[in-house]
Structure formats: C-alpha cells, structure tokens
C-alpha cells in the first residue's frame, strides 16, 4: 500500500465524480469481455476466404472492430516476443551477436515478403477455422512491428547504468525482481515511443494486407482495409471517404486515449536526477488517476501475486550468492544443450539455404537482369523521396521548432499524422493519379512521401526544440548571417535528430515501395519498374523464386546502406554533433 504523503509526487487530490469513473471503467471491462466472446465465435467458424464487404456506413463499426482487434493482438504478440528476444540477446553473450544480426536483417525485409511463409504456415496449422487466416494476417502485421521493439528493449537493457546493475547484484535480486524493478521500468520509455511507431507501421501494413491473393486464391477479410479498397474498386466515393475518415478517427482516438496518457505516465521512469519543467500532460491520465479502482486495484492484485513469488525466489540458490558481473572470464564452457541447439540450427539453415538455391536456379537470366534494374530504380526512388521529404520538412520543422509555443501545438499533430497509415489514402491518390494521367513512376514517390515524411518532420521539430537557447543567443549577439545560422547552428544542432528521422523514413519508404509501386485499382493493375512492384506481382502470379530473390536484394541494399551510410552518420552524430557533454 503506498503511503499517501504530502511530500510525494502530487497526484490530483480533488476527486470529482469518482463513482462515475469507476462505473465507466467497470462497463469498459464488461464490453471487453463481450468483444472477446464475439471474436472467439467468429474465429471458430468455418473459413471464408472472401468475405462479403458491405458498403453501408453502418457496417463500419464492426469492420473497425475487426481491424482494431487484429492490431491489438498483433501488438501484444510483438511486445511479448520483443521483450523475450531482447532479454535473451542481452544476457547471452555467445548468441548476442547472432541474434542482433538476425534482427538487423529481418528488419530490412518488407512485410509483404513474409506473406507466403506466414500465411501458408498458419492456414496449414489451423485448416478448419477462420482463425487460420486471421492468425496469418495477424502474424504478418507482427512482422512489421516486432523488430524495432526488440531493438529498443535490447538497447535499453544494455544501457542500464552500471551501478544500478551492481545494486541489484549485491542485494541478490531474483531475476523476477530485477525484471520488474529495474529492467522493465528502465526500458519503459523506449518501449512506449517504439510502440507508437510500431502500431503506426502495423496500421500501414494492415490497410494493405486485408486483401491479398495466395497461390491463385483471393483472400478478403472483413475490416477497414478491405472496406476502403473495395469502395475504391467499385467507385463508391462516399463509402471510401467514410472509411478513410474512420481510420483517421481511430488513429486520433488512440493517440489521445492511449499514447498521450502512456507518455505522461512514463515520465515516472525518466532517468533524470532533477525534475524537468516540461512535461507532457494528459487529461485522460488525470481522470484515470481519480478513479479509485484504477489506482488501487492493479496495485493490490499485483502485490498479491508478487509476494509469494518473492518469498519463493528468496529461497533459491541464486538469491543466496552474489553473481559476478563479468562473465567474459567464464566464457569457453558452453553447455551440451547449447551445442545441440547450434547444430540443429545450422542444419536447418543449411537445408533451407539448399532448398532456396535450388529454387533460385529456376530464375532466368532475363528475370535476374530485370530484378537488378528494379533494384536500381527503387533505390533511386527511395532516395529521391528522402531528399524531397527533407527538402520541405527541414525548413518547416526548424521554423516550427524554434518557436516553442507553436511547436508544442504542432508536434503532437505531426505525431498523429505519422500514425495515420498512408496506405489508407493510397486508393484516393491512385484514383487522382489515374485521372491526371500520370504513371506510378512518379506517383510511387508521392505515395512513399506521404507515408514517411512525417517521421522526418517531427524529428526535426524535436531537434530544433532541443537547440539550447544560449547558442541561439550567441548567434543573435554576433549577428550571424542566415547562411551562418544555418550551417553553424541549426543544421549541426538538428543533425542527430535528422539522421534518426531519415533512417526511419528510409526503412518506411522501402516497406512502402511494395505497395506504392504496384497497385490494383478495380480491374486495372498499376505498376512501375521497381523491386517492390516485382515482389507484389510475383505474389499475385505465384512466382516464389522471384519473391525470394527480390527480398534478398532489398535486404542486401537496406543492410548495406545501414552499415555504410547510416551507422557512420550515427557515429558522427554521437561524437561530433552531440550537444551535451
């Protein structure tokens, strides 16, 4: 029970209408229960590959419900997997390098490339129920969300201050205590911010993946993505607009009701020594804090669970000795189990590689050349999009960021814009493009821009806001010219943030290329020369080797860019352009 003390962090002490809030929370709980019942019923029904999508507005809520349901499950799965993966990677030195390399590569693969393996596996696993298809799509979304969460958790674990780890060792914390009192809280802020990005990626993928074809069969799941796409196909503008509006509404609501309270709450975990003046506030959080149920019930339930665990763990051997921190001295003695695992993994990888090579041999030389041209085209397109995005977001972002009051208003909006899936707007844009008569060559750049420029924008705003005021004062005092201000103050100041934004945007652009370079519009198929288009068309035409090869190309390009360009720039940002000492 937390002692309520006047000197403690001030919670809102005036409690207005607590009963209503408790009631609301209770009702919310009941609603969730019924939702689960309904979904379970739907999943257990016979599989319907092509569900009928009605275009009436009244059908929107149920479609929204299905889409949101998929998102929530995919996100929870991602979170759990990411934490487990990051934990194992951080605490096992032998496999650490491998696991991170695998993460790197998997992160560079566009979501759609996972379509084949994931869906086939899921449908084979659960053949008789709708659940199979649903799980397939959910796992597909998962592949778009999990990697950056895993990275975030892993890097948080590696950067816990040494003395706090030593504290947990010298007082013999159990793994449970260490996890809940040290590791999770330290990683909380990173996880919250990366969750926002992950969920945005998830929506992006979901909107495009609710309709797909696999091995010649078409699949169509009830949800907002299908709604929007079928509305576009049939030319029902009203339904289309309503669908897009629904998506935007959901994203904004998530931001206000979930992300902002979470960010405000996660302030508690900020590892700073002194209270900072600027804090994100959230009225929702304040309301929730007033509810007696919300503040005390989780605590009580949690301590009920915790206490026996602590008592049990205190009896184990590992809680009676001090475990040393440096394990490099003890390296060299791998357990038999680990060796067996390595052998099995090597065998599996070997067999997979062999099969892959066999498959790749069916690719003709002409196709190979086409792929390489596509790679070059996509590469140019992605970088073009990045340059264009930077060209407008940097001036605008700096202008907004240097004006603090304005920035405080605009930054959350930019965050929300980044969360809105551009793929929901693709159909509208495509229609527009077709009307103008342009092809997807330029159009795909526009589509990529739409999806990724917001990342650069809000990172630049954050960067401009963080330029210390005393440096700006110096530039005013010495009457810097515009050019000097930009080259000596602003660009170096926002450099680390700009790089972060560009890397995220670059990854997003490659991911978007699969949808931007190849699209169905009604009966027509729009496409242009590019790797993304080649992957999408290969999926449509059931050409597995092309999918594989094109994926390998994308992965190679992205990973190489990471190593050669982005890492170097990051290091530059860390050493030369870091503002604090």
């Amino acid at each position: 029970m937390k002692p309520q003390h006047p000197l403690a962090q001030t919670l809102v002490t005036v409690r207005t209408w607590p009963f209503f809030i408790d009631l609301a929370v209770g009702l919310g709980g009941i609603a969730v229960f019924f939702a689960i019942l309904h979904t379970a019923g739907y999943w257990m029904s016979a599989p319907v590959p092509v569900a009928f999508i009605s275009h009436s507005i009244s059908a929107l809520p149920i479609y929204a419900f299905y889409s949101i349901g998929r998102m929530i499950i995919a996100f929870l799965l991602s979170l759990t997997f990411a934490i487990a993966y990051g934990y194992i990677a951080a605490y096992n030195h032998r496999v650490e390098a491998w696991m991170i390399a695998v993460l790197d590569i998997l992160q560079s693969i566009p979501v759609l490339s996972f379509l084949y393996p994931v869906l086939l596996a899921m449908i084979a696993l659960v053949p008789g129920h709708q659940l199979g298809i649903e799980m397939g799509v959910i796992l597909l979304i998962f592949t778009g969300q999990v990697w950056n969460l895993a990275f975030s958790f892993y890097s948080s674990l590696k950067s816990i201050p040494r003395e706090m780890v030593e504290t947990s060792r010298i007082y013999r914390y159990s793994a449970w205590q260490r996890f809940w009192q040290l590791e999770m809280p330290y990683a909380a802020i990173g996880l919250v911010w990366n969750s926002i990005v992950s969920v945005a990626n998830g929506w992006f993928a979901l909107m495009a993946c609710e309709m797909f074809s696999l091995k010649g069969t078409r699949f169509q799941l009830p949800g907002l993505g299908s709604y929007i796409q079928t509305a576009t196909d049939s030319g029902d503008t009203r339904a289309l607009l309503c669908g897009v509006a629904a998506v935007v509404l959901i994203v904004v609501a998530t931001d206000q009701l979930l992300w902002r309270p979470l960010i405000a709450w996660s302030d508690k975990f900020k590892f700073e020594q002194v209270e900072s003046a600027e804090r994100v506030t959230s009225p929702i959080l304040e309301i929730l804090k007033r509810s007696k149920l919300v503040t005390s019930l989780p605590d009580r339930i949690w301590s009920r669970i915790e206490e026996p665990v602590y008592r049990r763990m205190a009896l184990t051997h590992s809680c009676h000795i001090v475990q040393p921190l440096d394990e490099d001295q003890t390296a060299g003695k791998a357990s038999a189990g680990l060796w067996m695992l390595a052998v099995v993994a090597a065998a599996a990888v070997g067999w997979g590689a062999f099969q892959a090579i066999l498959m790749l041999q069916t690719v003709t030389f002409a196709e190979l050349r086409l792929l390489m041209e596509g790679a070059a085209a996509s590469f140019l397109r992605v970088n073009c999009a990045l340059v264009l995005a930077a060209a407008w977001t940097v001036p605008v972002g700096v202008a907004i960021g240097l004006n603090p009051k304005f920035a405080r208003l605009v930054q959350p909006v930019a965050q929300v814009m980044a969360s809105i899936p551009a793929t929901a707007f693709f159909p509208i844009l495509l229609m527009g493009l077709v009307k103008i008569g342009g092809g997807l060559g330029i159009g795909s750049i526009a589509l990529m821009l739409l999806g990724t420029q917001w990342y650069i924008l809000f990172n630049v705003i954050a960067g401009a806001m963080s330029i210390p005021s005393d440096l700006s004062e110096v530039s005013d005092l010495y009457h810097f010219t515009r050019w000097q201000r930009w080259t000596k103050l602003i660009l170096p100041g926002i450099f680390p943030y700009l790089i972060t934004g560009m890397v995220t945007a670059s990854g997003g652009a490659w991911n978007a290329s699969v949808f931007a370079e190849y699209s169905h519009l009604g009966n027509r198929t729009l496409q242009t020369l590019g790797l993304g288009a080649q992957i999408s068309s290969a999926i449509d035409n059931d050409r597995l080797p092309i999918i594989l090869l094109a994926t390998i190309f994308i992965s190679l390009i992205v990973v190489t860019m990471n190593r050669l360009v982005w890492r170097r720039l990051y290091r530059l940002a860390e050493t030369r352009y870091k503002l604090e000492g």
Binding site: P161, R172, F269, F271, E275, I321, V322
Partner: protein, 462 residues
C-alpha cells in the same frame, strides 16, 4: 603492459583471527581485442577484520573500484581467490552492502520502496519490511520522506537513502565507493560525522567498513587503517594503522602529519614509502588522566538565581555588559555567574547577549524548594564532578567518600590551589542542591542528613 608480480603484503597480521573477507593473491587482467592482456591489479593480499574502518586510498587508475568489486564478489579475479569466512566467495552467502558515489537509487520507486527492495529480495514479509525500513529511515534522519521520489531530494538526502538501503539488511561489511564525492563540502561533513556516530554507538550490527576514497583528509578522519594503492599495475604501497582517538581534530599535529605523509607517498609513486609517522598511541583503557572536568565557575547559587531573575525581568534577553552595568558589577565578576548559569543550561550566549532558556525561565519563576529541585537536576546533568560525587556516595555502603579521591583526579587538570577552589564550589553547589554534605572535620563527602536517615531506616528494615 608490465607483468611484474609484486607480492605486496598488507601489514595487518597475516594471522588475523577470523578475517571476514580475505583476498589471497588476487589479480585482475583485462584482455583487449588485440589479444593484449593488461594487468590492472597485480597479486595482492588483503584482509578485512571485524571492528575496523578500512580506507583504500589511491590515485585514479590504481584500480580501487576494481579492488572493491573483487572483494564483494561482483567481479571475479583473474587469478587468486577471495574468501568469505574462509569459504570461496562465489559460493558463500555473502552479506555485504555497497553505498555508491552516484547513489544508484531507482528513480521510479519511492524512498521507502528503494529501502525495502533488498528486504524484498530476501523474502521478508511486507509488514516486517515496512517496519524495518521505516526505522532505518528514521535513523538516517529521513523521517517523513517515505513517499517522496528520489528526484525530489537533494544530493545529501539521496545519499542518506543510499545508507538506509545499505544498512537495512544489516550487512556484516559495509562497502563504500567514494560515497561523499558527489556531495558539497558541508553535506559531506555532516554525513561523515553521522556515519562515525552510527559506528561508535554500534547502532548498526556492521562489523567492518571498507571505504574507497581519493580524499586523503577523509581517509585520515574516518579510518582505523589506511591502505594506499599505487598504479600500473595496481598494488599496495603501504598499509598502516591510524591510532588517533575519535573525534579527530583536523588541525592537530598528528593529523596533519599523517596527511602530509600520505600526500608524500601519493605524489612520489616511484619511491618506496617510509614508515608511517609515530602516533600517540592512546591506550584503550581510560584512566584517570583521560577524564576531563569542566572548570566549575566560582559562582554561588544565589548569584545565579539573582541573575536569572534580573534577566527575566529584562524580557529574557540582554547584553552582558549592560547587565553588569545595571548590577554595578565588574564584567569580570559577572562572567563567572553567567558561565555557571550557562553550564547549568539556564541561559545561552548569543552574539554577546545573554538569552534565558525555558529551563532558566522556570527556575527564575519558581519558589525556593522548586528552585533547589531544578538546580539539583541541572547540576547532576551537566556537571561531571557533582555527578561523580553523587554516584560514589550511592555506591559505597557507608555513603561517605574522602575528598582526596576527587582531589587526585582534579590534580591532573588544575593547579593545587585551583583544585581546592573547585572542591569548595562543588561543595557549595552540592549543599544548596541538597545533593550531599561535606564533613570538614574528616574531609569527607557525606549524604545529606535526611537521606542518611532514610538509608538507615531501610537498612534496619532489611
């Protein structure tokens, strides 16, 4: 990249009985990516025995922190072995705590939760945990701050939380890694003296303290034993006992001598250190010569009462010179009375003014019998000589004590004449307060008549 294997023996007796932690030829190497091995600490022997505060001094880079971590089990030595009560430390149930330079508090836990955490790790139940933690917070002076978060506290308070957390598990050895370096000078002073108080009063069941510091004065102030490390590779250069009695005076000769000696050792890393300077070996047994009597001001109780009444009349506060003027006293005549009243706690001197205290006010306002009572209480509480006379009288079966007994002890401090005067004043006070009486003929202190009778009747009854 020296691989010199200098075996530095610590000078504490190798046969130190029941050393709590014993390090035997421990070394630490780090392997660089280029396969070079850098020796950070060369083969060293070190023991921590109960009852002492050990300070580890050394320049930066000498491996002090590494040594601390090896002694606590946080780091495994590349060679050699560390023993906890003669069991290898990796398998023993070690009970130590560390207080860190950067406090290492968890920002998302309240002060109470931070202090409770180590007890949680030991499976202590919630009620007992809370109780122990609250008591410990009280001991370190943070009563009332249980619900605060670390970012609301100042540096000194954060380190107090660090201490509370370290001591709540009742460690056998308390390790400290430059605990006061991150604090300002005054806070550090405060915490140091509080630590010494806790140690001296045996408020903590800790048997030994091991403090790593780069501050020479701090080491000499706190430690019973100082180990100086050299670097390249880390090795013990000298290890000696500090035998100055607590509380230590920074300005005293032996203190400054020690500091100079250590300074010389540290600034001349290539020269073998000389012997540590001779220190006054203060015997553990306190003998008569150690007793320090306050000099009793030669004032009569009547004078004290009068002064206090006058002071109260003036509103409780007045300048001493003006008081003397009012009474037509010479200042030299007034001062003993003022001193006496101050000794008894009836007034305080603040910037040249005499200020009456609450007990003084009560004294001035009471009637005679009550005044005697108050005087008696104050005298016994504040004057060592009177207290000892009373105790001696109580202890003896015949309830008399010769004057010579006390004269001898006073003789150490005062001249012969002054001793007599001290006894006279003591007798005057004692008689006024009805604490004892003085038989001038036999030159003995006796209990006052009323008490004598009481004792006699009690003895008859038995």
């Amino acid at each position: 990249m020296q691989e010199a294997v200098l075996l530095a023996e610590s000078q504490s007796p190798a046969t130190a009985p029941d050393a709590i932690i014993r390090a035997e030829r421990i070394e630490k190497f780090y392997t660089q990516p280029s396969q070079n091995r850098i020796q950070v600490i060369s083969a060293t022997n070190l023991s921590i025995v109960p009852g002492e505060i050990v300070a580890l001094l050394g320049p930066s880079g000498s491996g002090k922190s590494t040594m601390l971590r090896m002694l606590t089990g946080l780091s495994t030595p590349t060679a050699g072995q560390v023993y906890w009560h003669e069991k290898p430390i990796a398998e023993a149930e070690v009970n130590v705590s560390i207080v860190f330079q950067s406090f290492a508090l968890f920002p998302w836990l309240t002060v109470l939760e931070n202090v409770e955490a180590p007890l949680q790790a030991r499976g202590v139940s919630a009620a007992v945990r809370r109780d122990r933690s609250m008591k410990m917070l009280d001991t370190v002076g943070l009563d009332g701050f249980e619900g605060a978060y670390p970012k609301e506290l100042s540096g000194g308070m954060k380190q107090r939380v660090g201490f509370a957390r370290a001591l709540v598990v009742e460690p056998e050895v308390l390790f400290m890694d430059e605990p006061f370096s991150a604090l300002d000078v005054l806070t550090a002073e405060n915490l140091r003296s509080e630590l010494l108080e806790l140690w001296a009063n045996k408020t903590m069941p800790t048997k030994a303290v091991f403090i790593v510091t780069h501050n020479i004065e701090e080491a000499v102030l706190l430690a019973d034993r100082i180990i100086v490390l050299g670097k390249n590779p880390g090795h013990i250069r000298t290890d000696f006992r500090v035998q100055l009695a607590q509380p230590r005076d920074r300005k005293s000769e032996p203190f400054t001598q020690l500091v100079d000696y250590i300074y010389k050792v540290l600034t001349k890393p290539d020269v073998a250190p000389d012997e540590a300077p001779e220190q006054q070996v203060e015997p553990k047994v306190r003998d008569q010569r150690q007793m320090h009597y306050q000099m009793l001001p030669h004032a009569r109780p009547g004078g004290i009462a009068g002064l206090l009444e006058l002071l109260l009349d003036k509103g409780g506060r007045d300048d001493i010179y003006r008081l003397a003027d009012d009474l037509s006293f010479e200042i030299d005549d007034l001062l003993p009375i003022v001193d006496a009243a101050q000794l008894l706690g009836f007034l305080q001197i603040e910037e040249g003014d005499a200020v009456i205290t609450p007990s003084g006010t009560e004294f001035a306002n009471s009637e005679i019998l009550r005044q005697k009572e108050l005087f008696r209480d104050a005298a016994v509480a504040n004057v060592l000589l009177l207290r000892q006379i009373c105790r001696a009288l109580d202890a003896k079966s015949d309830h008399t004590v010769p004057e010579d007994f006390f004269l001898d002890m006073l003789d150490e401090q005062f001249s012969e004449e002054e001793c007599q005067r001290q006894i006279e004043t003591a007798v005057t006070w004692g008689r006024y307060a009805e604490l004892f009486d003085y038989d001038a003929g036999h030159r003995r202190f006796v209990l006052p008549d009323a008490a004598e009778e009481e004792v006699a009747t009690r003895q008859e009854a038995e």
